[in-house]
């Protein structure tokens, strides 16, 4: 949308005003995250910039909140809990989700619309309602307050993302490849692992990332479903923000921002790879 040389003054003014407005909105989107990072190095227990920090005086900065985050059992316990729950939930979601997405992508699936609606529903139903229902039901069957209860709940919440991403990759999948493999004598299993899986892998991986972040960030369901033994990182942050507000939260937040940058980077690489592949293969 470069400005043409013949643009009138009014158009010029509007062009730059519009860009400024967009800049401000993008600033609104990103600024809160950027503010958190320097504040987490605060030497004081304050949630705002101290005069020393504004003067860029090294005395105003310290790693004490990170030290607290990485040594205090109040934070380490939840961190390890999160790391113990999210991968297992992701594994369940990806295994079952990929299988089902492959099934759904074949033609002639009866009740496809209804099945799809059910499988996507955990993403649409408000978390508080899922949490309420799961709390009621899982306490009936004795899973409330257990590790597996939380894992199963998180897997259910992550599945829609796997379904959506994998189905999207399968739309562009050339079916004659599996037919070719079959005609060359490969069984269904071999065809899947050797031909189909490598091609849909980017979709599976991005689905896995979504499922992982869903579980890793999730707080409402675990708040109701978990016992103290399943306290996760977001849960600890939630209690921290509600009750004893400590600046260690900002250190935790910065660590989590780093994790999301990492995830976003991985996704971007995957997207580029699939774009490159699509560009290479004849349409």
């Amino acid at each position: 949308m470069a400005l043409p040389t013949y643009a009138s003054t009014g158009q010029r003014v509007w062009h730059y005003t519009f860009r400024t407005i967009c800049g401000l909105i993008l600033f609104y989107l990103i600024a809160p995250l950027l503010v958190v990072i320097p504040l987490s190095f605060n030497a004081q227990d304050f949630f705002t910039f101290t005069p020393e920090m504004l003067r860029l005086d090294p005395a105003g900065y310290s790693l004490q909140h990170y030290r607290d985050f990485f040594t205090n059992p109040d934070w380490q316990g939840p961190l390890w809990n999160s790391l113990a729950i999210a991968p297992v939930a992701t594994l369940i979601a990806v295994a079952l989700g990929t299988l089902a997405a492959v099934g759904l992508s074949q033609g002639h699936v009866p009740f496809k619309r209804a099945i799809m609606a059910i499988l996507i529903s955990p993403m649409i139903v408000p978390l508080i309602i899922s949490a309420a229902g799961m709390y009621f039901f899982y306490s009936r069957i004795g899973l409330q307050g257990t590790y597996w209860g939380v894992v199963l709940a998180h897997a259910a919440l992550g599945i829609p993302f796997v379904i959506i991403t994998v189905t999207a990759t399968l739309v562009g999948f050339d079916k004659s490849l599996t037919r070719a493999a079959a005609s060359l004598g490969a069984g269904p299993m071999r065809t899947f692992w050797k031909v189909q899986m490598p091609l849909i892998l980017p979709g599976v991986v991005s689905g896995a990332l979504f499922a992982f972040i869903t579980s890793f960030d999730e707080v409402v369901v675990v708040l109701f479903m978990g016992a103290a033994g399943q306290k996760t990182l977001p849960w600890q942050m939630f209690t921290g923000l509600r009750e004893q507000i400590s600046p260690t939260i900002l250190a935790a937040a910065t660590v989590l921002i780093a994790v999301s940058v990492l995830l976003l980077g991985t996704l971007e690489l995957l997207r580029r790879r699939s774009e490159r592949l699509r560009g290479l293969s004849p349409a």
Binding site: I30, L33, L99, I129, A131, M237, R242
Partner: protein, 523 residues
């Protein structure tokens, strides 16, 4: 399918079908039609088999829990299960304050409930409908053991020592003829024997019987029962105790109609009471009526949830549209770069973003500090931007904005730029070209984004809880409160079901408009 043209071996003499009447055969000699049908069937079965594990998983871990919630929103078994005899007796007694028979039943029920310590739960449950029920049941539970019914045990013991012997009782109660002759006694004895074993772990044949069993025996005998095998005793001279009087002496509330109306209303196993409560109604003596002013909070809360969600959606459109427009019109390379600014918040933990807003918006927070430092505000005039609706709107707009920008962007990407150019070449100015040509084509994106943002906003819990204070909370916060603090699960379930109905309606609309399989995640 091709079925219409491959009609098996039917000899067709019709002119319209000059094709060969010979049946088409597959390579293995079977009819091609049958062979195709079989392979199609096999394909369907394979697809279903692949989907089945996940479908089963979702049904068990997600759909069943939601069903359980729906069930709980109407379920009311606690009254008939805790007070089975009272509920049965009330059915035969239409009086405002029932007679002795109901109080006799209530006495037995309460003694049993007190042993299992479940009478307080019932009191709590009924307190949702009638304030005061909780203290009535608590009080009665404490005092029911000290009622004057011990006179029956003494009088029976004096009449014949066999009545004080648990071993003899156990023998009598094993005799079907006795059981048939003494229905109330049998019922009371069985209940007593059950909690003696369950709660105390004792042998009923060795423990002294509860007073309420003797009271039941007195009632049976006074009604003219003649049990075979029991020592004969003339109860007409016995001193009788009015249990109604005992209850009313304990708490006058038992002698007033309110508690009985409540009990009668909530005797059935299923009730609409929670739903009525969720929309500020209740079942009064004259049918459905509005709750008192101070209890009328839910309609207002639903309306506030809707207004706040609409406001947030509108703000998202207002802020998202220009950004999506810019992203769609920039060259790919710079658009991708700016897209990171949209995607990074999208990928960042909700708690991180909420804590950031908490830090920014506080009265001693970054924004206020900045404004004071710049001289815009005086130190005493700091803005209150958190723990109110402003805080909720600012923070939630920020959190949901990517959900508006992404669908808008993908729709705008598909609008050919030549249309706008054509409009301009035909003499339209910038505004007309945008408003009459570009904007109408971007409306589907606004629709998709709005429904998505609205669905997400209406069910939000964490952010309003942390930055919303008391005025900026949603219906979800009330649901959470009822689950974990007030423990009124039925009401939580009813509120949840209403919210779920609204969301599903929107989900259906979204599916019609966009199609659920067209949901795109992050570019």
């Amino acid at each position: 399918m091709a079925d219409a043209t491959i009609t098996g071996g039917l000899p067709t003499g019709r002119e319209a079908r000059p094709a060969s009447p010979e049946p088409m055969l597959a390579a293995d000699g079977t009819l091609l039609r049958a062979s195709l049908a079989r392979s199609l069937r096999r394909q369907k079965a394979r697809a279903l088999l692949l989907i089945a594990p996940l479908l089963l998983f979702i049904l068990v871990t997600f759909v069943l829990p939601i069903g359980d919630m729906l069930f709980r929103s109407v379920e009311n078994a606690i009254v008939p299960e805790t007070l089975p005899r009272t509920v049965a007796a009330l059915r035969d007694d239409p009086a405002e304050v029932p007679g002795e028979a109901v109080f006799d039943a209530l006495y037995t029920d309460l003694v049993v409930a007190e042993e299992y310590k479940i009478h307080t739960q019932l009191g709590t449950r009924l307190n949702y409908e009638f304030g005061g029920a909780s203290s009535l049941f608590r009080g009665a539970g404490r005092h029911v053991g000290k009622f004057d019914t011990d006179v029956y045990a003494d009088q029976f013991g004096d009449a014949n020592p066999a009545f004080a012997d648990p071993g003899r009782w156990a023998a009598w109660m094993a005799d079907d003829a006795v059981r048939a002759a003494l229905p109330q006694t049998t019922d009371a004895y069985d209940a007593w024997a059950k909690f003696t074993v369950d709660v105390h772990g004792d042998d009923p044949a060795e423990e002294d019987l509860g007073d309420f069993v003797y009271a039941a025996l007195y009632r049976d005998l006074a009604a003219g029962a003649q049990p075979p095998g029991l020592p004969s005793v003339d109860v007409s001279g016995f001193e009788a105790v009015s249990l109604k009087q005992q209850f009313v002496d304990d708490d006058e509330g038992w002698g007033e109609p309110e508690i009985w109306t409540t009990l009668r209303t909530f005797s059935p196993r299923f009730t609409a009471g929670y739903y009525l409560n969720a929309v500020d109604l209740k079942i009064g003596p004259q049918g459905i009526e509005l709750r008192e002013g101070s209890d009328r909070i839910y309609i207002q809360l639903f309306i506030r949830t809707l207004i706040l969600s609409v406001t947030i959606t509108a703000t998202c459109i207002l802020l998202g549209y220009p950004v999506a427009f810019l992203l769609a019109s920039l060259p790919m390379r710079s658009a991708n770069l700016l897209m990171i600014l949209v995607l990074l918040p999208f990928w960042t933990s909700l708690l991180v973003r909420t804590s950031a807003w908490k830090v920014l918006l506080q009265q001693q927070g970054v924004i206020n500090d900045l404004l004071v430092w710049a001289g815009v505000l005086s130190d005493s005039g700091r803005l209150v931007m958190i723990n109110n609706q402003t805080g909720t709107i600012i923070a939630m707009t920020h959190i949901l904005l990517p959900f508006m920008i992404l669908p808008l962007y993908s729709v705008m990407k598909g609008i050919p730029p030549s249309y706008v150019r054509a409009a301009k070449s035909l003499g339209a100015n910038d505004w007309t070209a945008f408003w009459r040509v570009y904007f109408p084509q971007s409306v589907p994106g606004i629709g998709a984004g709005s429904i998505l943002v609205f669905i997400l906003a209406i069910g939000y819990y964490i952010t309003p809880e942390l930055v919303g204070g008391t005025k900026g909370v949603f219906i979800s916060n009330r649901i959470a409160y009822h689950i974990s603090d007030s423990l009124n699960w039925g009401l939580a379930a009813a509120l949840g079901t209403i919210l779920l109905a609204v969301v599903l309606l929107l989900y259906w609309a979204y599916d019609r408009l966009v199609g659920i399989d067209n949901v795109k995640l992050g570019g």
